[in-house]
Every structure is written in C-alpha cells, then in structure tokens.
C-alpha cells in the first residue's frame, strides 16, 4: 500500500470511529438489540470483498473461499436487515396514539 493511501485510510478510520462514538452513544438502551443486529448487518459489507474474491480472483482456491464468504456474508446482510426490521416494527406506541399516526411507517405498530 502506498503511504498516501495508508494515511488517508487511517484518517477514514479515525473519523469513522469518532462519528460512530457520537452517533451510537445516542442510541437508547431500548434499542440496543436492534442496534447490535443492525451494525452486524452493516458490517456484512465485507460481502463486497467476498464478491471480488469469488469473481475476480484467478485461482480455484480463491473462488471456493470467495464462494463460502459470499454465502455467509449474504446470510448476514439479508438475515440481519430482515430481522432488524422485524424487531423495529414491533416497537409501537400506545394503541390510541398509534392510530393518530396511522401513516405508512407505523402499520406494524398496532396489531
């Protein structure tokens, strides 16, 4: 890796860490389980590394490793986002309050 790229990467890492700390410390304990599930799905972004390995690699071993990585990372992304959404749908307000804001996003809030 050339030094300029490395330094830029370290900047990105440091700023992302700072931003992450700021944003995540505002998440209430109420949503800690969905938070963990969401950040886990987001870190499934290693899928893009897996895609490159499985598709652009030249050796056969790389293809197989890439294939396994694509599969597990996809499970992580699809399963993770799906289940986070299912959880968040459940966090509803009181039923009477829920009706007032019966607009699209709160459909699951009051069953």
């Amino acid at each position: 890796m050339n030094p300029a790229v490395l330094i830029a990467s370290v900047y990105v890492f440091a700023l992302a860490a700072f931003l992450g700390y700021q944003v995540i410390s505002r998440v209430p304990p109420l949503l800690h389980t969905p938070l963990m599930s969401a950040t886990n799905a987001i870190s499934g972004i290693s899928l893009i590394g897996s895609l490159v390995l499985a598709g652009a690699g030249t050796s056969h071993v790389a293809h197989v490793l890439g294939f396994i990585a694509v599969t597990t990372a996809t499970i992580n992304v699809v399963g993770g986002f799906g289940i986070t959404d299912r959880m968040l749908k459940m966090f509803g307000k009181r039923k009477d309050e829920g009706k007032k804001t019966a607009a699209a996003p709160s459909t699951g809030a009051s069953k």
Binding site: G20, Y21, S43, I45, V52, S59, V64, V70, A73, S110
Partner: protein, 459 residues
C-alpha cells in the same frame, strides 16, 4: 481509472453516508425503521456498484453464493422467534467474521507475496480476529441455544493454557509479519486463532453473555475494518469501524451495569464459584396464593413489572402484557423496569416486551425507575434474580457488591415469580426473597401470569 470504477467508488461513498444516517436514526424508535431502509439501500448500491465496477470474470460462484445466502437469510429473518434473538445474533457474528477471515485467506493466497508491511499487518489482524470471532461466536450461540451447557466450563490451569495459546497465536502473527515467505506461520496463526476463540468463550457463564455478545460484535466489526485496510476500501473501513465501536460501547455499558471489568468477565469464570461470601440470609420465604396475589395487584395504584431471563425462557412476554392491560383497565398505573443486563444480550427484554405489544413508553430504564419504587404498591419480579439482589447494594462482601440494581426491595410489597426455590444462576443467596414484604409465587412464569390475569378478572 475507468468509468465503471468511478461509479463503484461513488456507490461506496453514498453507502457510507447512508450507514451513518441509519445509525443516527437508531436514536429514536420512530426514526429507526426509516434509518434501516437507508442502510439497506446503501448496501444494495454498494453490491451493485461492485458487481459492475470490480471486473468480475466468473459469475457462477457469485450467483450461487448470493442465492443460497439470501434463501437462508430470508428464512432466518422470517422464522427465527424473538426469544432466540441472542443465539441468532451470535450466529450472525460468526458468519460475518468467517467472511472476513476467508477474504483475508484469499488475499493471502493471491497477493500474499507482494504485500507491504502495513497491509500484511492488517491482513494478519483481519484473519486472526475473524477466525477467533467465528469459533467464539459459534460457542456463544451454542451456549445460548442450550446445545452446550451454559455453566462455565473450567479446568485446572485454564488461564495458563489460554495464555500459551494466545502467545502462540500472536507469536505466529508477528513471525508471519516479519517473514511473509513462511507460509506455515500464517496457517498456524489461522488454526490457533480458531482454537483460541473456543477457549475464550467456554469458561464464560450464560449470565455474562451480554458482555461477550457485545465484544464479539466489536471484534467482527474490527475484522471487517481490517479487511478494508487490506483491500484499500474505505466503505469497509467505515462500516467495520461503526460496528466495532458500537460493540465496544455496548460492552462498556454492560460491564458498568455489572460493576465488573472486561478482564473479570473474560477470565473470572463467574457463576461457577459457589458463593461462600453470601451468608445465609436467614428467615424463610413466604409463599402467596394466586388469589391473594391477584387481590394485591387489582387493588394497587402502581405496579412495576421487573422481567429477567426467566421471562424469556418461559416465553411469558404475552402473558405479562395481558395481565398488565387488565390492571390498566382497572386504573392501575403499570410500568416495566428493565435492567441493562437483564436477559442474554443488550436490550433483550425490550425486544421481547415490544413483541408482545407493550408500548415502549411503558418501558423504563434503571436510573429512571429506581426513584419510583418507594411509591410503588406492588413490584412483580418475573424470573429475575441478581439484578434485584439488595446484597449488591448493602453487602460489601457480596460477589456482586457494587453492581447497580433495580431497587425492588423498596417497594411496599414484592411478588417474586420463580420456577423453584433454588438459587439463581450465580448461586448467590438473594435476601430480597426473605424480606418481610416479599411473597413468592412458584411455578412456570407463563402459566402463573395467565392464572393471575384470570384471577384479576374475577376480583
């Protein structure tokens, strides 16, 4: 750079921004879902961008992998019950970490020879963290699911053996770093890291799982961030770092909520020691009949429910909500008090109660609700033990001394729903159960709660 490469980089930038916005949305339940849609959009764009811009030659493996992964993912998303959320999340950490580790191994095979010092360091870090998180998370998932006993598995000299394994792992990492031509060092590191993950988690008891889950979450994220350094890919660094820091913040919060350090959780083997320190609390536990308990609840002004892991095992979340609603219909003020480490992962109780349609405005955090116990008529403890143990506050010799608790004992009266008379997970005696104003109600929490609800209707 070709046009498609620019397009790919642009999708990565947008994805990074959307990920941050998504986590910002998480600060409130009303914006959280919209935030997740953004993150999903960002992820989709990054995937499409990669497929277009990354010079993909062979499509077969990719398409098969994406298909199998999506089918399993959708199945998980739709059918995993909320009570299994902790083991599902642990399993997910394992999958994410395994992907990162395998990408690292692949990079090593293809580009290992031409890597610079820094890239090689990042690669070693990625593979090591990825491998140990994979097996560690699998063990955690097994413990949470009950496939592996939840009690700490310990043996003589365990910490010494772990130290040796750790030294071999880091030693081979350093050796690989200095001498990239020695392929054996790389694979030794990989293999030993898999073993270390197992050894790290088996001595930890189920009650400490919230901390372990958060730590593994953090490791999985950092492994992804290291992948970003290896591939020179910023969106991987950003997303991985966000995950890593989220896990770190959660681990610190969980440790604070137990007044213990991370080292103590990892190497203390808590829960195996039979508590010599806790003297016999003396007195006897008083049982109460269902009808008397129902009477107390029905004529109370304020009732606080305190759920613990027992609520999850008994799947009693719907039953408690029904009872709560009946009481509210009678004019009783009903609240739920949630301890940060109640259950097996951060926020576990909130999710279960939300599943049962308890509005989140009724769920209170420890600091908010503690001042309210003295003015509460009945506090109902459902399958919680250590988080309401007054010894933590009053007895400096207690094993859990200093752990912040829900001060249930200050309520005017307490009803404890418990499976049997035995001690809780930690093996500690709980003086709360012997107090004058405490009454015990033994049995399965779910059926007890539904019987209580019936009895309340007949009052």
């Amino acid at each position: 750079m070709s046009l498609t490469s620019y397009f790919m980089e642009a999708t990565y930038l947008i994805a990074s921004i959307l990920f941050v916005l998504a986590l910002k949305g998480m600060s409130h339940p009303e914006t959280a879902r919209r935030g997740m849609f953004m993150a999903e959009g960002g992820m989709f764009m990054a995937i499409v961008g990669t497929l277009i811009g990354a010079h993909i030659i062979t499509w077969g493996w990719i398409l098969v992998g994406l298909t199998i992964g999506s089918i399993i993912g959708i199945w998980m998303a739709l059918f995993v019950p909320m009570t299994s959320m902790p083991q599902r999340t642990a399993l997910s950490h394992a999958f994410g970490a395994l992907a990162a580790a395998l990408v690292g191994v692949g990079e090593f095979i293809i580009h290992g020879a031409e890597m610079g010092v820094v890239t090689r360091g990042a690669l070693g870090f990625e593979v090591m963290l990825g491998a140990l998180t994979t097996t560690g998370s699998l063990i955690a998932a097994g413990k949470l699911h009950g496939t592996i006993p939840g009690k700490p598995i310990q043996f003589r000299g365990q910490n010494a053996i772990n130290l040796v394994i750790f030294l071999v792992m880091t030693g081979s990492f350093v050796y690989f770093w200095m001498h990239p031509s020695v392929i054996a060092a790389f694979y030794t590191m990989l293999g030993v890291a898999f073993v270390f993950g197992v050894m790290l988690v088996i001595p930890i008891g189920s009650a400490d799982m919230p901390v372990v889950m958060s730590l593994l979450n953090s490791y999985a994220g950092l492994a992804a961030a290291a992948t970003g350094f290896v591939l020179g890919n910023n969106v991987l660094i950003i997303a991985g770092t966000l995950d890593g820091f989220s896990g770190l913040i959660l681990s610190i919060l969980m440790c604070k909520a137990m007044n213990r350090s991370i080292t103590n959780v990892l190497f203390g083997g808590f829960g195996s020691v039979i508590a010599e320190a806790s003297a016999d609390a003396g007195g006897e536990m008083r049982e109460i009949s269902l009808d008397d308990a129902a009477m107390q609840l029905a004529f109370a002004n304020r009732v606080i429910f305190v759920p613990g892991y027992g609520l999850a095992t008994a799947q009693a979340q719907h039953a408690v909500r029904e009872l709560g609603e009946l009481l509210e219909a009678r004019g009783v003020t009903v609240k739920y008090a949630i301890h940060p480490v109640a259950g097996r992962m951060p926020g576990h109780m909130n999710v279960l109660l939300a599943e049962a349609n308890v509005p989140y405005s009724q769920l209170y955090e420890m600091e908010q609700i503690n001042p309210e116990f003295p003015s509460t008529d009945v506090a109902v403890v459902i399958g919680a033990n250590d988080v309401v143990n007054p010894d933590a506050r009053d007895n400096p010799n207690s094993l859990i001394a200093g752990m912040p608790i829900l001060e249930v004992d200050r309520a005017k009266s307490v009803i404890v729903l418990k499976r049997g008379q035995g001690r809780g997970f930690s093996g500690l005696e709980n003086p709360l159960f012997f107090k004058q104003n405490t009454n015990m109600l033994y049995g399965d929490a779910k059926s007890t709660l539904s019987h209580l609800a019936q009895a309340v209707q007949h009052v």
